[in-house]
């Protein structure tokens, strides 16, 4: 049944901080930059914001030493954002995936708990080697992984990806089509980390290996930065300066939530289909109704899994689907039109969400898909967990 909240809320402002490969300013400063930019973009003042939400967790161990230093909690914006003196509603989410926080924002707006909700996602890169394991002993589940030299998410993704390639008789060379397409899109996105760096198929095929069968360019580029959006109800949105991107439906991946080892396995359709299915059902749509797809690519294979789970192509067919420009800006289903996390930078699905908003409001500049009336943004990976939304031009 179509969700009664369909079209009742909208994104009305987007803000991005500078994206840098290494920390150049405190993360809290970047979060304030992004939030202020989003509020200004919406044509609002900071004191108009009476609801806030974020997904503060970081993808490395030990974050949370100091608020504003290696993560940015709700309290940081409450204390330093110059927002409404009386915040009516706030939430800090660590379930589902990044879009789970704006999903709660939508619920707060529909319930009347707040009038203007600010959501941000701040990503930090710790000093030194990112993503490393520095201990000679391993407890918890790690005592069954780290002792074998297996610690990182990219290793588990590599194991799943090899299984996928083998099961569906595919080969990793075909991935060049998807990855170079994302880079081509990033070359049209001045905010992208790789804006000025083209990538050829040869560049992809010659890239060094990280965890075979995944190479360097199958992994997103970790960055320091923040993205923010402002949301409000559809009736308030009409009075603001930007065209609203209406939220038609949302969903979180709850089914078949896998565990430590089993998330490496081929459960991506069991988990992914009901997840995307919830988004479709609420929006009263199916894959044929989607004009633009922003599908998470923290690791490139995740986009393949989402393409299949979302019904854009059949099981095991995604590597064929992405060939021949089919997912390019000119193709039948433009995918990751802004460059994805692979080429814009690791904003944990926020880049995807912001771009979906831009596409349905004609704000994507040179990347604009003509008559994009609907866009889906999904974060995470169906191997593990995810969340997402469909945006529409009309309520």
């Amino acid at each position: 049944m179509v969700w009664e909240g369909k079209g009742k809320t909208a994104v009305v402002g987007i803000g991005l901080s500078k994206l840098t490969r290494r920390p150049e300013a405190p993360l809290g400063a970047l979060a304030l930059d992004a939030c202020r930019a989003a509020i200004e973009d919406a044509g609002l003042k900071p004191e108009d914001i009476d609801g806030i939400c974020t997904y503060p967790d970081q993808p490395f161990a030990g974050a949370g030493r100091r608020d504003g230093e290696d993560l940015v909690n709700a309290l940081f914006l409450m204390n330093h954002g110059g927002l409404a003196p009386d915040i009516k509603w706030y939430a800090q989410i660590s379930t589902g995936m990044i879009a789970s926080a704006p999903i709660e924002g939508v619920n707060a707006l529909i319930s009347g708990a707040a009038k203007y909700v600010l959501f941000w996602r701040a990503m930090h890169i710790p000093k030194g080697t990112y993503n490393s394991f520095r201990s000679y002993s391993a407890g918890g589940d790690g005592q069954f992984g780290a002792v074998y030299g297996h610690v990182h998410g990219y290793q588990t993704h590599a194991i799943a990806y090899r299984h996928y390639l083998n099961k569906y008789h595919q080969n990793r060379e075909k991935m060049a089509a998807l990855v170079t397409n994302s880079r081509r899109n990033a070359n049209l996105n001045p905010g992208a980390f790789f804006y000025n760096q083209p990538m050829s198929v040869e560049d992809y095929l010659n890239a060094r290996m990280i965890a075979e069968p995944m190479c360097l360019f199958d992994c997103d580029v970790p960055i320091e930065g923040c993205t923010a959006i402002v949301m409000t109800t559809a009736d308030r949105a009409k009075d603001l300066k930007n065209k609203p991107a209406y939220i038609a439906g949302y969903g979180q991946n709850t089914a078949h939530r896998p565990e430590y080892l089993t998330y490496m396995v081929d459960s991506y359709l069991d988990a992914g289909r009901p997840h995307v299915g919830k988004i479709y059902e609420r929006a009263g749509m199916g894959p044929k109704d989607i004009d633009v797809a922003e599908l998470y690519d923290g690791f490139a294979p995740s986009t393949l899994y989402w393409l299949e789970a979302a019904g854009f192509c059949g099981e095991g067919e995604a590597l064929d689907f992405v060939q021949n420009g089919n997912v390019s800006l000119e193709g039948s289903l433009p995918v990751n039109t802004f460059g994805g996390s692979l080429s814009e930078g690791r904003l944990h699905g926020m880049g995807h969400l912001a771009e979906a908003v831009r596409q349905v409001t004609d704000r994507a500049d040179k990347r604009q898909i003509k008559d994009a009336n609907t866009a889906i943004a999904i974060d995470g990976s169906p191997l593990l967990r995810g969340s997402g939304m469909i945006f529409t031009r009309e309520p």
Binding site: S132, L261, M264
Partner: protein, 141 residues
């Protein structure tokens, strides 16, 4: 660190996992098994993922299975393994139950000797310079 440094990561057992490592020290592989429905759990859990019983006990498993998949690690980002890259980590699905999965470490780059689905067997490796034994997996003889 020298290139032949024997030092590697060792497990830090806890109350739940101690029986597993005690058995490994004696050259036996065990997994938790639900006493209500027979479902095996690995890594160890406090509740059965199948029937939600808390009644789990340690039982021997065959150590025979199939190669589910593997990756070849190239990053020097794990202590004790920096100088061992490239190496392979293998995921083995035991014959006892679908998706009863164990990880293992195989030294060396991809030499074409591994095929997904091939029979695998457990062996017990004593980590050089320590008293620690680990269950490992290799293609079955």
């Amino acid at each position: 660190m020298t290139t032949d440094s024997p030092r590697r990561v060792v497990p830090q057992p806890d109350e739940l996992t101690q029986p597993f490592w005690d058995a490994v020290a004696e050259g036996r592989l065990m997994a938790q098994r639900c006493q209500q429905c027979g479902f095996y759990s690995h890594p160890p859990r406090i509740i059965c993922n199948e029937c939600h019983s808390f009644d789990l006990k340690w039982e021997p498993v065959s150590g025979k299975g199939k190669l589910y998949s593997y990756e070849v690690m190239h990053m020097q980002s794990i202590t004790g393994f920096e100088d061992r890259v490239p190496y392979r980590t293998v995921l083995v699905e035991l014959d006892e139950q679908p998706k009863l999965l164990f990880l293992g470490y195989l030294p060396g780059a991809d030499d074409g000797s591994l095929t997904l689905g091939m029979p695998m067997e457990v062996f017990f490796e004593k980590i050089e310079g320590t008293d620690q034994t680990l269950p490992q997996f290799r293609p079955a003889k």
